[in-house]
């Protein structure tokens, strides 16, 4: 019983978000007055801030369990560590920014219902559970809470055919991808169980989908001469899981839905989807690569990841160049960013640079969340009754009409392009540094070249805003919460770009051979987070 209570405390962040979701859902039923409607987004944001703080507190110290970190809870099914805490806080930030930018937009489309905020909170909760899961079952449940909420959110503008079509497309492909994930998990369950039986380990009360058990089985089976890594069941299982998660993270070749869905969904939903779904999927990727790829015989899988990363970066950037719709352009650029993140995942599968690479992925995800949500918030900010300005040519001369909006969008775009002094620059720097440290030099070079190609379309939009003559007046922009969210995101992007060591302690570039363990987050004095930060790489250290 005490274990359960400790577990509840450990995952109090996602639990709080879920309870907030239910409260908002029920309150939203009665509220139709303007004042009541203003309360919903405000309450949502406050709840998310509280959940973020709760996560920070609970990820730092679990009462009565000072030594066993990262702690496993709920029958080893969940874990809480700095990596999970970081993901949760980033997700709270993404959801809070979305709730901040949404109200004016939703009000215009007459869909400012409590359900929007409730679904936003449920989706956040699902993604947080994915980040804290230590078992494929829990990853699956989190993935589905996230996806099902996003299906509904995509079709939330229910009087618009475009939105409904996006929802159908996302739903069918998402359900398809989930089926791949489940079948892959089933095969891994069987493969791990059979491997454990072969070396006559205990069978009962053991979850063969648990990451700890899987990585233990990988090591044991390799030692006993029947490596799990070459078992057809296991190989097929991993491949299917990568397909399933690849859909959610919109990796090439599973990206085809992304531009359509991102274009059709209501803009705040697109903003959240681009960050939230990726955060969840990459959290799962990170845990999986630590559990699966740290063992011997993982070379073929690294090759697959390498190919996926290179293809995703290339195709995302090339597609983005051809787009004339800004939402589609950002969708394609988000595909490319998934490719950069995959470089970090690939690097984190090498023991030598694992921690550094994990940190770089976390930092990049935070930077990506800020800059991408900032860009979408500017689109909402400038829009007015009747629709958003979606054509890139509409943004010609924006700097003359709305200088502040142009500046904010420019900061976000520069960051997306990876130009200093922005968070995106350091994010890319860390990712590629991690790749080089781990010995994956080729992918780092490819990534650098491709991101140089990517400069083209971001700078094109910036030049439109500053050098062309305006042909639109940009009257009556929505401003409101979207303006505040955009400016906040831009400021945070700059802060992270000027002083990235506020949050991460990056090892200096020269120390190639220095022992990588650096604290994941800023540590409290006197508290040792080293073990907690480094543990995901060696999941068995504390068992």
């Amino acid at each position: 019983m005490n274990d359960t209570l400790q577990g509840i405390w450990a995952i109090s962040g996602p639990l709080f978000v879920a309870i907030m979701g239910m409260v908002v859902l029920v309150i939203g039923l009665g509220e139709t007055s303007p004042a009541g409607r203003r309360f919903l987004p405000l309450g949502t944001i406050l709840g998310l801030v509280a959940a973020g703080i709760l996560t920070l507190v609970s990820s730092r110290g679990i009462p009565n369990m000072p030594d066993v970190t990262p702690a496993r809870f709920f029958g080893q099914g969940m874990l809480m560590d700095d990596v999970g805490g970081w993901f949760c806080v980033t997700l709270c930030l993404a959801a809070a920014l979305t709730a901040g930018m949404a109200p004016a937009y939703l009000e215009e489309k007459r869909i400012n219902n409590g359900e929007f905020y409730a679904l936003l909170l449920f989706a956040t909760c699902g993604a947080m559970l994915m980040a804290l899961a230590n078992d494929l079952i829990n990853v699956f449940v989190g993935l589905e809470i996230l996806s099902v909420s996003l299906y509904i959110l995509c079709g939330f503008s229910r009087r618009e055919l475009r939105s409904e079509e996006a929802a159908v497309k996302y739903f069918l492909l998402g359900a398809f991808a989930s089926a791949f994930f489940v079948f892959g998990s089933a095969l891994i369950y069987g493969a791990v169980g059979i491997a454990n039986r072969a070396i006559s380990l205990q069978q009962e009360n053991v979850s063969f989908t648990n990451f700890d058990i899987i990585s233990e089985a990988l090591q044991n089976s390799a030692r006993s001469g029947m490596p799990l890594m070459s078992s057809p069941l296991f190989v097929t299982g991993i491949a299917l899981i990568v397909v399933g998660l690849g859909f959610k993270a919109s990796l090439v070749p599973f990206h085809s839905y992304a531009p359509d869905v991102y274009e059709g969904a209501p803009t705040p939903v697109t903003a959240f989807m681009s960050a939230g779904a990726k955060l969840g999927a990459f959290a799962a990727f990170l845990r999986l690569s630590h559990a699966f790829l740290a063992s011997d015989g993982a070379e073929p899988y690294r090759l697959v990841l390498w190919t996926l990363a290179a293809a995703t970066m290339l195709v995302g950037n090339v597609l983005a160049m051809r787009q004339t719709n800004i939402k589609r352009m950002l969708a394609c650029s988000s595909i490319a960013h998934a490719g950069y993140l995959l470089v970090g995942i690939l690097a984190s599968s090498h023991g030598s640079a694992s921690l550094y690479a994990t940190q770089s992925v976390l930092f990049y995800l935070l930077a990506y969340t800020l800059m991408n949500l900032g860009a979408f918030a500017v689109i909402i900010w400038l829009g007015r009754n009747g629709g958003d300005y979606l054509d890139i040519r509409d943004y010609a001369g924006l700097a003359k009409k709305q200088p502040l909006a142009a500046l904010t969008l420019t900061i976000c775009l520069l960051s997306l392009a990876g130009i200093p002094p922005t968070a995106g620059f350091f994010g890319k720097l860390y990712l590629f540094m991690a790749a080089i440290r781990s010995g994956e030099v080729s992918i780092a070079v490819i990534g650098l070249v491709i991101s140089a190609i990517g400069l083209f379309y971001y700078l094109n939009l910036i030049m439109q805003m500053y050098l062309r003559e305006p042909h639109l007046e940009f009257e009556e922009p929505r401003e409101g919460g979207a303006k505040r969210a955009a400016i906040l995101a831009a400021i945070l992007t700059i802060i992270l770009g000027v002083a990235p060591n506020l949050l991460v302690s990056p090892s200096p570039a020269g120390e190639m051979n220095a022992p990588p363990p650096v604290p994941m987050l800023k540590t409290r004095p006197g508290e040792n987070t080293l073990e907690r930060g480094s543990l995901p790489i060696e999941p068995n250290a504390n068992r």
Binding site: M1, T4, M22, L25, V26, L29, E204, N205
Partner: protein
């Protein structure tokens, strides 16, 4: 670990029947024969014992009040979908209660705690139910 032993399988002790693959299907065969016999007996007894005064209404097959013969591509009012969806969602939740009920008796000192856990689960379901109710999904018109 609770005992998941399936009573219908307990007759098949390995040392008696494991020698033949087909033997293990005998219970299935018995089940099939019993089902056919029961159905035949009921219909047959009906025919023998019941008075027979047919009219067209009575001769048509019974199908829950729906016209039995018509186009297969008939459209249903969309309200049926809503009810069906709600039914599926709430119905499937009971599947979580079965394992809980089976293991509850073995929970020993944790009984109250396990009961609270299930009450929380049902409570969350009730939030959904309350939402659907207030939203008017149960009103036919």
């Amino acid at each position: 670990m609770p005992n998941f032993r399936d009573p219908s399988l307990s007759v098949m002790e390995p040392n008696v029947l494991s020698n033949s693959l087909l033997n293990s299907y005998i219970p299935v065969l018995v089940m099939g024969v019993a089902a056919i016999a029961l159905a035949a007996a009921l219909i047959g007894l009906n025919g023998i014992l019941g008075p027979s005064r047919p009219n067209p209404q009575k001769l048509s097959p019974y199908e829950c009040g729906v016209t039995p013969i018509g186009s297969a591509r008939e459209r249903f009012p969309i309200k049926f979908y809503l009810i069906a969806m709600l039914f599926i969602v709430f119905d499937i939740e009971t599947v979580f209660m079965y394992p809980w009920a089976v293991t509850y008796i073995h929970s020993g000192g944790m009984m109250i705690f396990n009961l609270i856990e299930m009450l929380l689960f049902v409570g969350i379901l009730f939030v959904g139910y309350y939402y659907v109710w207030k939203r008017g999904a149960f009103e036919w018109e």
